[in-house]
Symmetry: D2
Subunit: 283 residues, 4 copies
C-alpha cells in the first residue's frame, strides 16, 4: 500500500485542519494516519497526515502543485513524501563499533527502511565489520590541517551518492559549519549523556565524578553548536555507587544503540518536524 | 476558555475526518486539540476533538442536534462534553489509606478537576481522614448476607448525588453485576499487580513467591469479571531478591497512587474511549 | 528486635571485613545485614553492618568503646546507630504543598520512621495544612536584610528540639554557609530537575525550552554550592512535544515526592554514607 | 588480576560471615567483593565473595579442600570459581536472528567473557550469519518423531565440547526433561513477555488482545515446566493503543536482546545463585 505523507507547520489559524482534510477527502484519499499538534505559546500548527495513493484522484507527481494553493494560503512550511521513496543513508563512525553493528543489523534485517549506501570513517579499524555486511567502506583520515579539505571530499561523495541522512554512530570528529549547513536537519548524532547534562567530552567520566544515580543517552540533529541541536530521543538507565566508569560505559552502550536507532527510524519514516531547536515526533 | 469535546468511534470510512473538521470550521470553531486513531485490524475510527466555544456559531445547547446528522451518516458512537462541566466523583475505600490521601490531596489542590462529593467505606477506620479534608463520609458495612441490599442503598446515594465517576481506592469488596452495569465504564479500580499477572488476591505475595524482578500496578474500568476490565494505565518498579513482601507492598503503594490518579485524571478530562475491552487514551 | 548499625568508611586494607565480623561473632552477635563496597579508584572501604542486640555480650552503651580499637587500627570514620533511636525531623517549606502533604502522610502512617517535630516556613500559607496533621508550625518570614538573623533563630529552635534531619520540601530560600555547616550532611533538598542539568531556578521552564524528552528530580544533601551537594536519589519521567510547562510541572510533582521521600527514608534508616561529594546507598 | 569466587548458600546461623572472612584474611587474601543476603522467611544465608589469588597462601588447587571443613560445619552448598576460567557457551537458535546477532557481537567484542564454541539450530536459515562471525554452526532438524533421538546427539556434542552454558536465543523447541536435567541451571531462555503474564505461545498477540500498556521480556533458567523456571532478569517498555502487534514485536526485540544478554553476563561472571525456583543476583 503506497501512501503520501505531508509534514506541515504554519502559523495557527482557524480552518487549517478542515482545509487539509477536505483536500484529501474531495480527491477520494483514504487517510490512514493524522497527527496534529499546536504550540499555543508560539501559536504554531504542526501536522503529519498520511493517505493511500490508490484511488486518489490526483496523480502522484501532481499532488505537490495541487496542494500548493492551500500551503500558500496558510503560509505553510511543508514536505511531501511518499512511502515508496527509500532514503539513502550514510553512517559515519570512528573506532567504537557497537552502534555500527547495531545499525548494520537493523538495516540488513529490514527493521530500518533505508538504503544504507556507505560507511565513512576516519580510521580503518572497522573496515572489516562494514565489509562483513557488504557495505562500501570509505576511509577519510583527518587531522587538524586537512580537515576542511577532507570534508569537501566527503560532501562530494555524499552528494554523488544522493545521501539523504547521515548518522554519526559515535563519530569522534566535530563537523564544520560548512558541512552542517549542507545537511541541515539531516545529520543525526548520538551523545552519550542525558543532555543538557555533560555536554562535550567524556560524559561517563563526568557522570561518575558527579555521582549521578541515572545515566542517559541523547540523539539529536547536529547544529553548529556542539551538543546543542534539537533533541530527538533520550533514554536512561539506573546506576549506583557500585558502578565504575567501565560499568557506566557498558550500560551506556545499550542506551546509545537504542536511542540512536529510534531517531534514525523516525527520520526515515518522516515522523520528525524540527522547529525552534526542538522536535515534534509524530510517533 | 470554554471548549466543547467530541469523543467519537465509528466504522472507518473515507471522509470522516474531513466532515468532522468541516462541521467545526464552517461554524467558526477554533480547534485546540485533535487526536485520531484507526484500528486497522477491526477497521474502527476513533477521535477526540476539542474546540473553543467562543465565537462558535452554534449555541452550546444546540451543538448535539446540529452534529447528529454527521453522527448518523457515519454510524458514530459519540459523546459530547464541555470543559465547563465538572464531574461528580465518589471514592470507595476500605482500610488502606494511601490512595485515599493521595486523591483527597489531588482534588483539594485542584490538580484533579472533579467535584469530590463523598467517600463510601465498608469500615469506619478512615472516617477521620475524610473529614479532615471536609468531605462527607458514608459508612456502609457489608457482609455476605446484606451485600446486595447495601449496594442498593449505595446506588441510591450515588444517583441522588449525581455521581459520574466512582473510584475504588483499594476497596476490598467485589461489586455485583447489578452495580457494575449501573455504572459501566464509570468505575475505576486500582489493582496492585501488573495485570494480567496475579489476578485476584495477594498479588505482592504471589509476585514475591514467583521471584519476579519488576512489580506493577494497573488501573482499569471494572467489569463483571474480576480484574479483567479495560486497562487504562500501568506502571512498574524494579525489585530484587533483597525486597521482602513488605518492601514490595511499600514500593507498590507509590505505584498504586500514581497509576490510579492518572486514570482518574484522564477520565475526568474525557480522554478515554473504551472499545473491545481496551482503552484508547487521547493523552 | 533491636539492632545495632555500624556505618564505616576507611582506607582499604586486607582484613577489615574479617576483623569487623569477628568482633560481632565473638560477642555472640547475629548479623542480619551486611553490605560492603570498595571504591578501587580511591582505595576506600565502605560498610554498613547490622546485628541483633539480643544476646550480644557487650552492653549497648559500651559497644562504641569496645569497637574503638578496631576503628583506630584501620583509621575508620564510623557511626554507631541503634534501630531503637528515632531521629527528630524538621521540614522546611515555602508555598508549594505537594511534598509537604506527601511527607506529612508518610510520617503519620509510619512509613517514615522519624519523629516529625516541627515545620518551618517563610510564609504562613501552609499553616493550616501542618496543623491539620497536628504538627507545630513555625513562621519565620525572611527578607534580604534579616535573613542571617532569622536563620540564627531557626538554628536555635532546631537545636532546642534536637533536630537530626532537616528536609527542604521545596523551600525557596538559599541557606547560608553558617546554617549548612551547622547541619552538614543532615539537610536534604529536592531539586526539580535531573541534576546536573538545569541547576538553579525554573528548571521545568528551561527543560521545556531545551526540548528534552525526559525530565527528572534529584534529592541531595545541601552544601555551600547551590545544587552541587552529594546526590542521594534521582528519578525521571518521559515528556513529549505535547507537554507544556504546566504538564511538566504536574508530572514533576509526582517525581519530586517520590525522590525526596526515598532520600528521607534512607537517611532515617542510616543507609547513606557520604564521601567525596557522592553517596553510597546501602539499600 | 586473578581472583577466586565463592558462591555459598546455607542455613542461616551466627558466625558464618566471620568464619568465611577469617579463612580469607588468615591466608592473606585481599577481598575485592563481598555481597551477602539473608532470606529471613526461609532462614537461608547467601554469599558471593571474591578475593585476589596473588599473595593468597593457599595454592589455587588446594583452596577447595582447605575450605571444605568450613563448608561442612555450616552445611553449605557452594561453588568455587576462578576469574581465569572462561566458560564454554553454546547458543541454540531457530529463525529469529536478533538475539543471535546481539550475542555474537557481544562475545566477539569481549563484552561477554565466554568462549562461544558453537551454535545449534533446527533450521539452516541462520547458518550464514553464524559463519560470518566464524563460529561453528550445527544443523539438527527436529520433528515430533526424532526429537528425543536428536536431543541425544545434541547432548553428546555439548558434552564433547564441554559446554557450560546453553543460551536459547529464541529457540522454538521445547526441551525434554532429560535434556533439562542434564544441564540444570545452565540453560538460559528468553521469553518475550513479562512473566508470569502470557506464558506460552504468541505473547505479543495476547498482550495486544488484552490491551496492556506495558510489555516486557523475561530471561530465566529452563526447568521442566514451560516458562516456570527461576527468573533472572526482566525489563519493560511502554506501549499504547497506537502500537500494533508488529510494533510490539519490534519494541520487544530490543527488550529481548538486553534482558537475555544481562542474564548471560551474570551467569558467566558467577553472579547468580538459584534457590527455591528464584534467583539471587549479586550484581
Amino acid at each position: 500500500m503506497e501512501t503520501a505523507i505531508l509534514l506541515i507547520s504554519c502559523p495557527d489559524r482557524k480552518g487549517i485542519l478542515s482545509e487539509i482534510t477536505r483536500f484529501i477527502a474531495e480527491n477520494n484519499g483514504n487517510i490512514v494516519n493524522a497527527d496534529q499538534h499546536i504550540d499555543f505559546q508560539k501559536s504554531i500548527f504542526f501536522m503529519r497526515i498520511e493517505w493511500e495513493l490508490e484511488g486518489f484522484k490526483i496523480p502522484k507527481l501532481e499532488i505537490e502543485s495541487a496542494f500548493r494553493p492551500i500551503a500558500e494560503k496558510f503560509q505553510m512550511d511543508y514536505q511531501l513524501h511518499f512511502s515508496s521513496e527509500v532514503k539513502n543513508v550514510a553512517i559515519f563512525v570512528s573506532k567504537y563499533d557497537h552502534c555500527l553493528y547495531d545499525l548494520l543489523y537493523r538495516f540488513k534485517s529490514g527493521e530500518l527502511k533505508g538504503n544504507l549506501k556507505l560507511v565513512v570513517s576516519n580510521h580503518e579499524d572497522l573496515k572489516h565489520v562494514v565489509e562483513m555486511f557488504q557495505i562500501p567502506f570509505y576511509y577519510f583520515p583527518k587531522n587538524r590541517e586537512n580537515k576542511l579539505e577532507v570534508e569537501e571530499r566527503e560532501i562530494e561523495l555524499l552528494k554523488k551518492e544522493k545521501i539523504d541522512l547521515i548518522v554519526l554512530a559515535r563519530y569522534m570528529q566535530i563537523l564544520s559549519n560548512r558541512f552542517v549547513n549542507e545537511f541541515r536537519n539531516r545529520i543525526i548524532n548520538i551523545h552519550h549523556s542525558f543532555l543538557p547534562a555533560f555536554v562535550g567530552a567524556k560524559p561517563y567520566h563526568r557522570a561518575y565524578e558527579r555521582g549521578v544515580k541515572i545515566i542517559g543517552a541523547t540523539s539529536h540533529y547536529v547544529t553548529e553548536e556542539l551538543d546543542q541541536g534539537p533533541i530527538i530521543e533520550q533514554d536512561v538507565v539506573r546506576v549506583s555507587h557500585r558502578d565504575t566508569v567501565s560499568d557506566m560505559i557498558r550500560k551506556g552502550r545499550d542506551l546509545e544503540k537504542i536511542v540512536l536507532s529510534r531517531a534514525v527510524r523516525w527520520h526515515l519514516e518522516d515522523k520528525i518536524l524540527v522547529y525552534d531547536n526542538k522536535t515534534v515526533i509524530f510517533e
